[in-house]
Symmetry: C2
Subunit: 726 residues, 2 copies
Amino acid sequence: MKRIALNGIALTAFLAFSLFAQTLPDNNAPALMPWPASMSVQPGGVAIDSTFSISASGAGAKDPRVQDAIDRTLVRLARQTGIPVAPHAAGTNETATLRIVVEERDHRPPQRLGDDERYSLEVSGSGIRLSADAPLGALRGLETFLQLIQQNTKVTGTAPASPGFSVPDVTIRDEPRFEWRGLSLDVSRHFIPAADVERTIDGLAAVKLNVLHWHLSDDQGFRVESQKYRRLQQYGSNGLFYTQREIRNVIAYARERGVRIVPEFDMPGHATSWLPGYPKLGTDTGPYEIGNGYGILSHLMDPTKESTYRFLDGFMGEMAKLFPDEYFHIGGDEVAPKEWNDNPRIQAFLKKHHLADAKALQAYFNQRLLKIVSKHGKHMEGWDEVLHPDLPKTVIIQSWRGQESLWQAAREGYQGILSAGYYLDLMQPASEHYAIDPMKLPPERKKHLEEEGRAVPTELTAEEKTKILGGEAAMWEELATAENLDAKLWPRLAAIAERFWSPEGVTDVGSMYRRLEVTNRWLEWLGLTQRSGLELMRQRLAGGMPYQALDVFASLLEPVRGYSRHADRYTTSTPLNRLVDSIAPESDTAREFRNAVDQYLAAPKEQRNSEALKEQLLEWIVKVSAARAVLERNSLLSENIVAADTVIGVCKIGSDALLYLDPHLTPPSAATAAWKQRSLAAVEEAAKRQGDVLIAIVPGVQKLVEAVEVGTAPAEPEAGGAEPPR
Amino acid sequence: MKRIALNGIALTAFLAFSLFAQTLPDNNAPALMPWPASMSVQPGGVAIDSTFSISASGAGAKDPRVQDAIDRTLVRLARQTGIPVAPHAAGTNETATLRIVVEERDHRPPQRLGDDERYSLEVSGSGIRLSADAPLGALRGLETFLQLIQQNTKVTGTAPASPGFSVPDVTIRDEPRFEWRGLSLDVSRHFIPAADVERTIDGLAAVKLNVLHWHLSDDQGFRVESQKYRRLQQYGSNGLFYTQREIRNVIAYARERGVRIVPEFDMPGHATSWLPGYPKLGTDTGPYEIGNGYGILSHLMDPTKESTYRFLDGFMGEMAKLFPDEYFHIGGDEVAPKEWNDNPRIQAFLKKHHLADAKALQAYFNQRLLKIVSKHGKHMEGWDEVLHPDLPKTVIIQSWRGQESLWQAAREGYQGILSAGYYLDLMQPASEHYAIDPMKLPPERKKHLEEEGRAVPTELTAEEKTKILGGEAAMWEELATAENLDAKLWPRLAAIAERFWSPEGVTDVGSMYRRLEVTNRWLEWLGLTQRSGLELMRQRLAGGMPYQALDVFASLLEPVRGYSRHADRYTTSTPLNRLVDSIAPESDTAREFRNAVDQYLAAPKEQRNSEALKEQLLEWIVKVSAARAVLERNSLLSENIVAADTVIGVCKIGSDALLYLDPHLTPPSAATAAWKQRSLAAVEEAAKRQGDVLIAIVPGVQKLVEAVEVGTAPAEPEAGGAEPPR
């Protein structure tokens, strides 16, 4: 192990750093994400070179998860640095660069909710030491270690740094805030092959998420091989399903990385894909076809037949063996009751069993389901709608409705997790998800309740708070495929992971974005394709033409938000190969531009320097004009020509605004007012959706236009008419 | 199947096209590589959409290779287009979009040299029809089909094309020129994991290469698990070897793709890695260590001991079962005889057996080896040095020495393949490899022989020509790892593949580069990483800093050629993570710049337009200046600061030259002469290696400077001294 001296080292940023534990990240801190519970940084560091080795000791060191994690760490370290570290560079306890101590061995076969994930990591003159109570802590700590590796950099005014990599001296004590930190992944609307699911698990583990909630069936596809009810996959999947062998492999893969797999089979709604193979399960007489369109389809299982429960008992028995986790998700959301309401047989059943309505019938169904789930040794989990006074407190509620619903469940004694606010398919920026906290009512919601004179829910008691287990991001796949899945998940999911892991007070958005950028690049070394996948898609769109200009154009766009794309009648066979499919949900370029505009406008007028902004806008005009030639020629791109013209127009308005804002040029006049009015109208128009995309730089330009001061004097002819002075 | 009408279609380029078969590509032809034996293009085409399906009929259609190829084609078509084609979209013979007919089934278990690879592909109003005599032809034809898919594009002056993809109407009859078309891949100097080998096989199959020659042992590592002689891998591999299971998987993977695997175990030289585990095999007494440095190491097997042959018999017996191919490569190259010459025991053996020298001893060794190889049912293959009058004609010679050596062997009745001229580790441009033909003596070699008054080898007779089976590119891994392997192979290997497959007359370099660019992008859809891998490496180098400027700087560089990097004492543990490791062997940017310079200088003086060249040079100055900040900060990049400064200087000289070349500015003067002399000296200096890199744009700039006309009059003071007029 080599020590890094103080001159010319990796630790540039840390010299001015507090030597005491800090709980909040600052701008110079290592870009860890999620931010640890506590960290201090000291000057100095440990060099990473080809002599690097890892040892493990303690009872828990023999856990195969620890051994596998060490092997993976060596491979990843070699990838992150390009240094040929031997794949079996396991050193002895005395000489290893990184010494791991894992106190206890965890003998329970499937991983469980509440497993100990604590660890501490110390990098100092005596080397790197990672300590954990149990195997999972070692896995979490190794991710932190890998995030800490960085190339040595030269500090201004010092000698050049020695070529290579190192980790800074730190003391980290870390543990998660919530014990349930997950991603709910829909593989029904578009199938996601096992290899892509495994890649996603790599990402989850890297940012210390610990649950993959696998949404395995829905109207559009049944994705699991049943060996007992083979017609489920034969008639319900179009051939796109996981074999049981694949599922076992994915579960083992996840377990090696400290990620639980919770299966969901959604019922009695969102269940059309069960019915082509087993029409008797349905309320209608059939025949059925797999759903091709989206939205809430009408078909429901029939909760009034005993045969339904016999089937589900047989099915769950099989699945309970296949999926080792204690929890079993039965969906239960969005039951459109029409099929039940219109059916005389169902109505007669309601009457006979004194069930008031469809909601009561669903509760009846859930109670029957609960017995089956319990019989097979599992805890039941369901979406908000399953909540009903008759259900026992062992049920876990996943809330897509929000904190109020979640808190209400907690008050009633139910454990729950929050998903509302973490829907990655809504195409919101990371900052919006990051602001959502399972324990805090969003301010705008509070204001809304107050304005409507409705009761604002009071804070939970300490006891009730323990019922909130954490949260899950959700990725629904109507408009995503395996090809662009990574870009829909990453890097935004890392910000959500921080919300679930890091202390409640870690909320600074600027720091989040700074660390998210670094984390995003770091995740690429795992093989995640959020950048490269979209690049390839754009190259495909560009055909043989240069794609660089198209990349610039794409970097200024975002997909329309919410579910407004669905109105365009997408089906499961619609190709998702257009420009809107090949852009990131959040434009980093636009955010940086907005920040630059804010910084420019915040400066005193006489000190403002508009050069960088001007150059930026000019470059966009040039590049997007070049991209336009590509759009014109290629048949899949021509729908974006209007957006390109609008971008060019917006950039010109922004350039004009910078001229008006220049205090050294002609003072404001009435002509300015006319220009401003016209420009604001144009900007407002440009802010609207352009097909399926939004022009993400519009808000920045709008701020510039709004900041232009308007004169009251009539326009002087010599002021140049309505055009800005140049 | 949908027909594509004539207005607004994918076929833009083909309207003006010959309706008759053509054997040479022109600028408007589909960018197929390798170019087929014969092709004609007609107006029109067939749409590729989500209804696409494939059928296969004929006796050969049941071959699992055909079935697997169909499945892969559907997956790849979906990737190339983004269209959700069902993975089992096998249509019936009547309705399928692509109908495959394979006449014969090939029942021989391992694939063999000379297997029929012919196919024909017809795209027309009646659909797409692929016909082949045998399974391999179907595989080759499917690659051609996938290369033909392109996005519909708008033709100038017509209505917009319908959004989507199609293949143009063509008639192709195709078969290879040579039956042995391979890549020799060294996995000893740096280990290449099985997954990376499989990815390479994907690439080989895509460009219709059919042999992976697996160089499995050398001084620096023994890469195969022997179950009979376990100490080979235990002491000879540092843990980096293929298990037999992995090898069987790779062989099966290759066979599915129509690629033979020929193993090489190099002996009696290049064999140090055998000796740590089995020192008795060596001439010296040992103990031995695996080679860490490069070059020709001194250790040799001992050919005088019977125990050596007993060992090799046992080993070959095991390997002959593991590798099903008929051919077995025993290396035999570069035997440095010192260890034999210095050893009294060996010298006594020579005397006793009437062997003249080390060369004779190696021939003795080879004859013994040949008996063993034959005993285990294989044909022996070796490098040039194994050629010896005593060897039977069944031996195949792989020539690293060149056509003369290869032709001599053919005259003596030996079959052979050419590798000289196809060494991808020499960092030559594609055009140089492309110019090499196994059947033609390179003109410069011919000239050299004539100048020295030596005999120029006469053309081979028709009979002798049949002995030339083809060729193999070679990739030695001293300075490459799995991380940048793809960039060292691709796209240059595709140009060599064309040399081995396409008719002898397909030699136009401009056409080759045009099609190579398209093929290079197409290969990315297989998962090859020649672009993305280097990008990631440069991002790692950039650390947290912007990498875009670094990318521009990198695009202007090439690694030093030949083996001049080796002088810097690289060892197997030297990290290959510097800028030189993350650049392409050939700079496309520099080639395009050179072509632009040629075009500019070729125009009549008064019609020259220097704007584009000026802008280009200015952009490089700006971007490389920005990259310099990244170089200064990051410890692994600081060695390239001088190169960056040189690039900036060269670009300035180029800009100045363009001013001198402008006929509208001041006429030539003596000052011009002084500038030219100084600039030529600077350019000459800049053409030298800058550390491990070359500045690839220097030749283009040099041409500009050389074209500047020099006045004879003494310098006028008002002409601006030695600076160009601005």
